[in-house]
């Protein structure tokens, strides 16, 4: 079985919103700069705005539109649960708010992936109470 994310204090608002079909980012209450929910690969905390250093970024919804910043095709099998999926894509998308997110492109063959392609967020319910965002090609 594929791993299902487990909410923690840092991520609960993000996953709660995903269940409602909303993609949440962080936004600075002072200068309104949007930022990604994670500061680095697996570093969840962002106590300060990277633009103005103001404290306490707030959750704010993204419009859900993005472009493909870059992508990679995973061939290595780390977990048998993905055996039917390899080779599958992993992506970094850049949302209209100017935030880059690690995600995946859904509904697109690997050969058709192209940097810069317009995307829109979509959610997959992976358990009773967890949904995860991906991005599909914009119509």
């Amino acid at each position: 079985m594929k791993p299902v994310p487990v909410r923690d204090a840092d991520s609960a608002p993000f996953f709660d919103a995903a269940l409602r079909g909303e993609l949440m980012l962080l936004r600075c209450p002072a200068c309104r700069t949007f930022m990604s929910p994670t500061a680095y690969i697996n570093v969840p905390r962002r106590p300060r705005c990277p633009a103005c250093f103001a404290p306490e970024p707030e959750w704010a919804p993204s419009c859900g539109r993005a472009t493909l910043y870059s992508f990679a095709i995973m061939h290595q099998l780390y977990d048998e649960a993905f055996a039917a999926d390899v080779p599958y894509n992993l992506a970094v998308v850049e949302t209209e708010e100017g935030v880059r997110l690690s995600s995946q492109v859904a509904g697109c063959e690997n050969e058709r992936l192209e940097i810069g392609m317009p995307l829109v967020v979509t959610f997959e319910r992976v358990s009773d109470d967890v949904a995860i965002p991906r991005f599909r090609p914009a119509a």
């Binding site: 994310p5 991520s11 969840p44 992508f71 080779p87």
Partner: protein, 388 residues
């Protein structure tokens, strides 16, 4: 330009690679013992210990106790990931200049490989608990996030500048040719460009031979004053200049630190301090976690223009007999992976003129780079045969 202050007087490199049943502190102890013997110093001479903090739970301040050092006047764990080594040397040199310490051991060690397990099952595999945002990565199947993120960085470079796999393969093949002359290298079988292309995809666009090794082992260097080093067993390797640059947030629009790395600022800083120009650099020991890291670092140091790295390396100038010898021991791609201590160790060997069959003829100035995260942290050290 700094005054002539400090030099590397000793180097210790343990057995490398699939060496099992030993701990990180055991390797660290052996590396330091080898480095002290190399320098002609005793453990009791050591009054400073700098530990390269990494994934190992043993690379911590209490390593002092594990190894039995007493009354140290400089002890610290340092980490900017793979960009740490040059900054450790800088810290040691500064402490020596201030009279805080006299003989400083700088050490890296790790045992990520497990017996019976492949590199993808090592401690670096990045298989994480399914909690929080890390759990989201797991749900996408994004294991080994370093491979994934470097693959995406390379994809950007290919998209922007047309960099191709023939060019990247030239880097891998050149380094393998160097490794064939290095008894410490894990990978010594011949490699052709066809072998490179035939190596499996790990995370496309990264072939297996674009990726570094995973190694168990340890490396240490002994730093002391240039004056004292002159009286010791080995020719001193003078610490001529240092630089560091960490560009920061890669998740903001308009910033592209994986394409425009910290090497530019860090390199300018180090060369300025050393009082030399790029044209004075005789050989390069560049952090090479991936072939792409070498290519982008060459661009940002200014050896070629931004985006021209692929064309620049394509003639094989980095390999044996080339005009810009680079990663002359095989680097992390073909010799062994000890973070920044891989390029540093080979830099010391070359600067001394002790590289034997693979010795580069002119070796007055060696540029050693460090890179950490996904091209998020950069450091530079200039090593010299002469103090100034």
């Amino acid at each position: 330009m700094r005054g002539a202050t400090a030099a590397i007087a000793g180097l210790g490199v343990t057995e490398m690679g699939k060496v099992y049943g030993r701990t990180a502190s055991d390797f660290a102890g052996e590396a330091i013992a080898l480095a002290l013997a190399d320098a002609g110093l005793a453990a009791s001479d050591v009054d400073g210990l700098l530990v390269n903090g990494n994934h190992s739970e043993e690379m911590v301040p209490t390593l002092q106790f594990s190894l039995g050092f007493l009354d140290l006047t400089l002890v610290n764990v340092m980490s900017a990931f793979g960009a740490t080594a040059a900054t450790m040397l800088q810290c040691a040199a500064d402490a020596i200049a201030r009279g805080q310490a006299n003989v400083v051991a700088c050490v890296y060690s790790d045992v990520p490989l497990r017996e019976g397990g492949s590199a993808s099952q090592s401690a670096y595999s990045g298989k994480q608990a399914p909690t929080g945002f890390a759990g989201l990565r797991s749900a996408y199947g994004d294991y080994g996030p370093a491979n994934t993120m470097y693959a995406m960085a390379l994809r950007r470079h290919m998209h922007l500048y047309g960099t191709d796999h023939d060019q990247l393969g030239t880097i891998a093949v050149g380094q393998r040719q160097w490794a064939r002359m290095n008894s410490h290298a894990q990978m010594r079988a011949p490699m052709t460009l066809a072998d490179y292309h035939a190596s499996r995809w790990v995370v496309e666009p990264l072939h297996l031979f674009d990726c570094c090794l995973v190694s168990n082992g340890g490396v240490a260097v002994i730093v002391t004053s240039a004056e004292r080093a002159a009286d010791l067993r080995q020719p001193p390797v003078h610490l001529r200049g240092f630089g560091q640059c960490a560009p920061g947030d890669p998740a903001r629009s308009g910033r592209e630190p994986a394409v425009h790395t910290g090497a530019r600022t860090s390199g300018e800083m180090a060369l300025r301090e050393a009082g030399i120009g790029l044209e004075d650099v005789d050989l390069l020991e560049l952090y090479d976690c991936y072939t792409y890291t070498v290519l982008v670092t060459l661009e940002d140091y200014g050896f070629c223009g931004k985006g021209e790295g692929g064309e620049f390396v394509a003639d094989g100038k980095l390999g044996p007999g080339g005009s810009l010898p680079c990663n002359t021991g095989g680097g992390q791609l073909s010799s062994y992976y000890m973070w920044g201590f891989t390029p540093l160790a080979e830099g010391v060997i070359q600067a001394r003129g002790e590289a034997g069959e693979r010795q580069v003829e002119k070796h007055d100035h060696v540029l050693v780079s460090g890179n950490g995260g996904v091209l998020n942290f950069h450091s530079t050290a200039i090593l010299g045969r002469e103090a100034a």
